[in-house]
Every structure is written in C-alpha cells, then in structure tokens.
C-alpha cells in the first residue's frame, strides 16, 4: 500500500474539506452544542482559580491574569482540539475505511478535512461567546501584539502535534477493537498536564517537570503561556525545541504505525 507516498494532492484535500464543511454546517446546532461543552472545563477552572486567588496572587498570577489566561486557553483549546480520532476507530472496525482507501488521497486527508471543517463551523460561536465573556469579566492585561509572530507558528505546531498524536492513537484500532480507553487516557493527560487544570507553572514538582518534557503542554498550554506573556525568551526557545522534537518523533511513529496497520486491515467480514 503506497497511499502514504502520494504527493500532496491539495485540490482533492480541499474537496474533502468542502464536503465535510457542507455536511457539518447543515447540522451546526449539533456541533455548537459540542463546542459549548468543550468550553465548559476552561471556563469553570477560570472561576476556580479566580476564587482561589481572591484579591491576592497565586504563583505571581492575580485575578486578571487568570481571566486572560483561561480565555485564551478556551480559544486555543478549540483551535487545537481534534475530533476525527474518535470516529476513525469506528471506520476501521466497520470497514468504511475501505472507501477512504479507494480515493487517490492518503486516508489522513479525511481526518484533516473533518477537523478543519469542524473548526470553521464552530469558530463563529466560540469567538462570540469568548468575546462576550471577555467584555463581562474584563479582559484587561495580557496580550502583547508583539508576540504574535511567535504565537501563531507555535499555535499551528500545537494544532498539528495534538492532531497527529490523537490520529496515531486512533490507528491502533487496526489491532484492537476498542480505542476509546486509549483516547480517554490521552484526554486526561491533556487535562492535567497541558495547562487546563492549572497553568503549568502552578503544577506541583514532578507534574511540572513532566509537563515540560511530555508533549501535552505543547499542544495547548505553551502557546497560551506565550501570548499571555508568562514566558521569557529563553523559555520560549526551549519550548519550541521540545515541541518540534515531539512533532517529528510522533510523525515518524505515525508513519510506521500506519504502514504496519494498513497491512492488517481487512475491512469488515474478512
């Protein structure tokens, strides 16, 4: 199976994005309900930290810093959170993957397309809700426009990293029938170590070190920390290095998982 080596087929890719976009837009009520549920965790934790900080500070962060951190996290979370991996397992198990294999496109295009389309469909709602929250809660300090040239590439890398890890995990459905458990572990680790439960700087000892070396922080918390001015230049450079290394590492693993997995794939019935 050489599907992995077909050169970039952008026209085909865009066609897939359009297809997903149309079908998702038609049921946007459904996806907006999902988008709201993804915003809840950061929102709740924002209020928790604001209440915990009171009028003082925790780890150098006061009320307004927590608000700007978590509002940014809400947006970045929405932009980086992939969803296609939850359904790839089903497609492998039920055999519908064979339709994807028939296309002159690597199957990863289907996942990329559905994730891009989902983000486009959900973004208007998320932007409006975040803006309303920002107005009500007083989004004051934080964002330094000068950091945008660093933030945007790091955000894109975070998107790719979070996607490729989830995608690789979902490919394990080639071997085992149930991938949900593996994906849930991934989600919990992102929750605890990526800056959702707390900005990674506030994690206790071991967890903090773990968050610096494991890939999870670089999928979510790292870009947020950059744009809210929580990192020194040196920390940004080190982070960027760790992020790139993980990205390459997981990408290599993904290719080999895909190549071995696709040999085992026999569609349904087999």
């Amino acid at each position: 199976m050489k599907a992995d080596f077909i050169p970039l087929n952008l026209r085909g890719g865009m066609a897939l994005v359009r297809k997903s976009l149309f079908s998702f837009t038609a049921s946007r009520g459904f996806f907006w309900t999902l988008a709201v549920s993804w915003m809840m965790a950061p929102l709740i934790l924002m209020f928790v930290w604001v209440a915990a900080a009171g009028n003082g500070t925790i780890g150098g962060l006061g009320k307004s810093r927590f608000i700007s951190y978590y509002l940014c996290l809400m947006l970045v979370n929405q932009l980086t959170y992939p969803t296609s991996h939850w359904t790839i397992g089903d497609n492998i198990r039920l055999g519908t993957l064979s339709t994807w294999l028939m296309r002159p496109l690597p199957i990863i295009y289907e996942a990329v397309a559905s994730d891009m389309a989902l983000k486009v469909v959900c973004m208007p709602l998320v932007l409006i809700l975040t803006a309303v929250l920002a107005v009500f809660l007083g989004f004051g300090t934080g964002i330094d426009p000068g950091l945008m040239p660093v933030f945007i590439p790091v955000l894109l890398l975070a998107c790719v990293l979070r996607f490729i890890l989830a995608y690789t995990l979902s490919l394990s459905a080639m071997w085992t029938q149930k991938t949900d458990s593996l994906l849930s572990v991934n989600d919990i680790l992102v929750f605890l170590l990526a800056g959702q439960a707390a900005p990674t700087g506030l994690l206790p000892g071991i967890l903090r070190t773990a968050s610096e070396y494991l890939p999870f922080r670089y999928m979510l918390g790292f870009p947020v920390e950059i744009v809210t001015g929580m990192l020194t230049n040196r920390q940004i450079l080190t982070g960027l290095l760790v992020q790139t290394i993980w990205l390459f590492g997981i990408f290599v693993v993904q290719r080999s998982v895909y190549r071995r997995g696709i040999k085992r794939f026999t569609a349904a019935g087999g």
Partner: protein, 275 residues
Amino acid sequence: MMRYFRLLGVFLKGSLQSETAYRFNFSANMFRTLLNLGGSIGGLAIVFNNTSSINGWGYNELAALLGVYLLVLGLKDLVIGPGLEALSGLSGDLWTGQFDYVLLKPVQTQFYISFRKWSIWSVVDIAFAVVILAVSVSAIFRSGTVSASNAADFSQLGRILLFIAALLISLVLVYSVLLILASAAFRYLGTPLMWIFDSLIQTGRYPVGIYPGVLRIALTWLIPVGFMITVPAQALSGTSNMTVLAGGACLAAALFCLSAVFFRSGIRKYSSASS
C-alpha cells in the same frame, strides 16, 4: 399503584438482561470512571497545592462536593438519563417515530418514558461516589465543625438527615430539568438539548458561590445546579441554611409540575416521524 411498582421491576429486569450480555462494557465503564476520578481528584489536588481554601471551602468539603456531584450524575445515568435519551437523543424515539408505540402502551406515558431503561453499569459510578463521600465526610466530621456565619450547628446525624433531604430535592430537580429539555425535542429536533444539561451540570464540580453575579443567580434558580449539588454538600459540611433548603423544595415542586405540563403539551405537538 402496585402495578407501577411491579412494572419498575420488569423494566429493571429487562435492562439487566440486555446489559449483562455485554460484559466488556463493565470493565470499560470501570476504566472510564477511574480515569475521570483521577482527573477530578488530580485537578482538585493541583488547586489545593496552591491554596488552602476556595471561597471558604476546604479540601475535604470540596471532595465531599465532588462525591455529591458524582452520586447525582450516577443516579441520573442509572435510570432517568437512559430513558429520556432513548426518547429525545440522536436516533431516539422522536427521530425514528417509534414514539407511536410508546403512546400505545397501556401505561401512563411519562412514567413509562422515565423509567423504562436502566443503565446497570452506572452502579460502578455510584459505588465510587459513595466511597468518596464516606472518606471525605468522615474527614470533615473528625476535623470538627466548619465555622460559617449563618450556619446552624447540627449534629452529625442531623447533617446526614439534612443531606438525604437535600439529595431528594436535588434528584427531583434533575428529573424535572431533564424532562423539560427532553420534551423540547417535540418542538425542536436540531440537537439533543439534554446534552446542554451535561455541559452545565459540570459547573457543579465546584460550589456555586465561586461564580460571579448573574451566572450564580442563573445557576441557582434557572438551571439549579446550585440546589442539585452545592446544597446537599453544604448539608454534609454543616453549613446548610434552612431558608435555602426550603426554597429548593419549593423550586423542586414548581419545576416538577411545570415539566409534567410541558411534557404533556409536547405530546400534543407530536405528529410521528413521517411527513
């Protein structure tokens, strides 16, 4: 009346038989519950690594609150949730037109759609919730009373009785709100509105007092997450306020009646699935 109790048993037995056929779901559910617990308790521990109290709630009180949260959700997933999901969820009876057959059953419809499905594996969640409650409440009892300005001083037994009363109010509220959201599907089938409940109830992981102004009022009276989770937890930590509890009871009674009316008016709108 006796007939309805017997029917409850029949529904339970039917669900038991169909669910025990899929034993893998038991371990999968167990695993998911453990993961969620790890996430919740880990998150709580991280916060308390940096502070000793949130809005007057200590670690043990918040752990008890988490226990209440998991217990209420576990009970909802055990019986009311699955039935209403089968009614208004994706490809539920209202989508497929199967509701025709529900209406034909010689039982009171609201009773039938509420209790016909049981999700047995939720007992795992309930068991874990009870363990968390037991551990945290015994820690609270050992550490003595919490000082709060308007708290009446209750004995330990009194607190537990109050907790049971508050939990009953909470369950009635959960049922009523869910029934209203599920009945909305008679009018609007775009998205299962019950999912909104699942999102909003998450705010109950923490005491409703941490939320600012308008949000707190909405979470107390509009979508009464405060009454569902914070108030029973306050009963356990000995900071309950009888006026609030009475208010909750009135709200529960009002919402229960409103939900029944709303459900019945929804049925009148029902025109089956075909055009």
